[in-house]
């Protein structure tokens, strides 16, 4: 279909009814997945800091999940009877984020200096208050560093989820491949790349904003 690499007329004509909706679906799919992953990872992470022996098994299991290639993960979920669409996509995307999110919650809480905790205890704060008012706020930059890595991974993997009918920018890529129409492929791939890079830099800015006092070393270590 056509010889030119990009047909701008197609881009203009399909911006409103195909390109922007795909972009929006992509953003929603990723945001929902990362949010669900956070809701799961934060309590697990906190629990692990109180029960150290769980750290190794938890990182092992989430590490195995993280290593499973996405198309394989989707296929396994579908083969056990989950219908194609957003559900298997979100399950897999959530699973991929768990390792980095849990690890960064644990590392973040661990990074709180002992003296700070003792001062808080000396001021009469209960463990619950210390968690909410001292540990989590101080762990926040490292948790955000985890959210950043998880988000970038999720945006990338979500493109593949279009193959199992979850929608998003991957839809443009796969439809373009099917029709051998380079414009559609390039629009999908470039937008997914831009989204990923924007999320990366945007969350990096948030992370820096949250830690004006410290050097960036901990961020790199996480």
């Amino acid at each position: 279909m056509g010889d030119e690499l990009i047909r701008w007329r197609w881009v203009r004509n399909n911006l409103g009814d195909q390109i922007l909706p795909a972009l929006w679906q992509h953003v929603v799919l990723c945001a929902v997945s990362v949010l669900i992953a956070l809701v799961i990872a934060i309590p697990i992470g906190i629990y692990v800091t109180r029960h150290r022996s769980l750290y190794t098994p938890v990182t092992f299991i989430t590490g195995v999940l993280y290593t499973i290639p996405s198309l394989s993960f989707f296929a396994m979920l579908i083969s056990i009877g989950i219908p194609i669409g957003r559900t298997p996509a979100i399950i897999a995307l959530v699973a991929y984020s768990l390792l980095v999110l849990i690890r960064n919650v644990v590392v973040g809480i661990d990074s709180v200096p002992r003296e700070t905790l003792e001062a808080a205890r000396g001021m009469g704060l209960t463990s619950r208050q210390i968690l909410r008012q001292v540990e989590l706020p101080l762990a926040l930059p490292i948790i955000v560093a985890g959210i950043r890595i998880a988000t970038v991974t999720t945006i990338g993997v979500a493109t593949i989820a279009a193959y199992i009918a979850a929608g998003g920018l991957g839809d443009l890529i796969f439809r373009g491949i099917d029709r051998d129409f380079s414009t559609q492929i390039i629009v999908g791939a470039v937008l997914a790349t831009l989204l990923s890079i924007i999320a990366d830099f945007g969350l990096l800015a948030v992370e820096r904003q949250l830690r004006p006092w410290s050097r960036r070393r901990a961020a790199r270590a996480a």
Binding site: G63, S70, L71, S72, A75, I84, G156, I164, I173, A189
Partner: protein, 218 residues
């Protein structure tokens, strides 16, 4: 169902797909190593070049693998070679980042003493800097290898073959047997790559560095 999955795994089509998958992954990793390691050695001569290489590679890591493979199609067409090229591009950043960081963080005092002992720049690179950076470099190889094995599953979308083909066939025909016959081996392959390279990483750590070998930049 397990019986049918096993039957598919024993078929010629499966062996062919597995062979393609392994060939794609191994070649992509090898070519990426041959490009990334010399490049890392080169940029490590200058802090600015090193900084640029690390940051550009970091942006490169943010590019979705499907985007890289799909972009190969309009420019290079369908098949094994475009897939190989795309996977190589994908494999370079993690290796380059870790090698550049690893070489950069070799203590200047160590390099100075080596020079004082009369080692040439080349000898310092091969006998001092690379061995000291080895654990970090191997961590990069591991990330890269796992990513390549996983992304080779997507090569089927641009006609590159591999185990992804079985999964796609399973999804199109709505056959859980084909889905699993592709999905389980791919998952096992990725996990064994991870474990294998983790073992290599431990072996590559020089004896004197083993105690402090816990540094592993992402």
């Amino acid at each position: 169902m397990a019986g049918r999955v096993w039957e598919i795994i024993q078929s010629d089509a499966f062996s062919r797909a597995l062979g393609e998958h392994l060939r794609l992954s191994a070649w992509a990793l090898l070519v990426a190593i041959l490009i990334a390691l010399p490049l890392a050695a080169l940029v490590s001569q200058s802090p600015l070049a090193s900084f640029l290489a690390i940051n550009i590679s970091n942006v490169g890591r943010a590019v979705p693998s499907l985007a890289i493979l799909a972009l190969a199609l309009p420019f290079l067409g369908l098949g094994f070679r475009p897939s190989l090229l795309a996977l190589t591009v994908l494999a370079i950043p993690p290796i380059l980042i870790n090698a550049a960081i690893g070489l950069r963080e070799v203590p200047a005092s160590v390099v100075e003493s080596a020079r004082g002992m009369g080692l040439s720049t080349g000898q310092i690179l091969t006998r001092i800097r690379f061995p000291i950076a080895a654990p970090v470099i191997f961590a990069g190889l591991r990330t890269s290898a796992v990513q390549v094995v996983a992304s080779a599953t997507l090569a089927t979308f641009i006609g590159g073959g591999g185990l992804g083909g079985l999964i796609v066939r399973g999804l199109q025909r709505n056959s859980p047997e084909y889905q699993l016959a592709g999905a389980i081996p791919v998952a096992l392959l990725a996990i064994s790559t991870e474990l294998g390279f983790a073992a290599l990483q431990r072996l590559a750590t020089p004896k004197g560095l083993r105690i402090s070998s816990r540094t592993r930049p992402a």
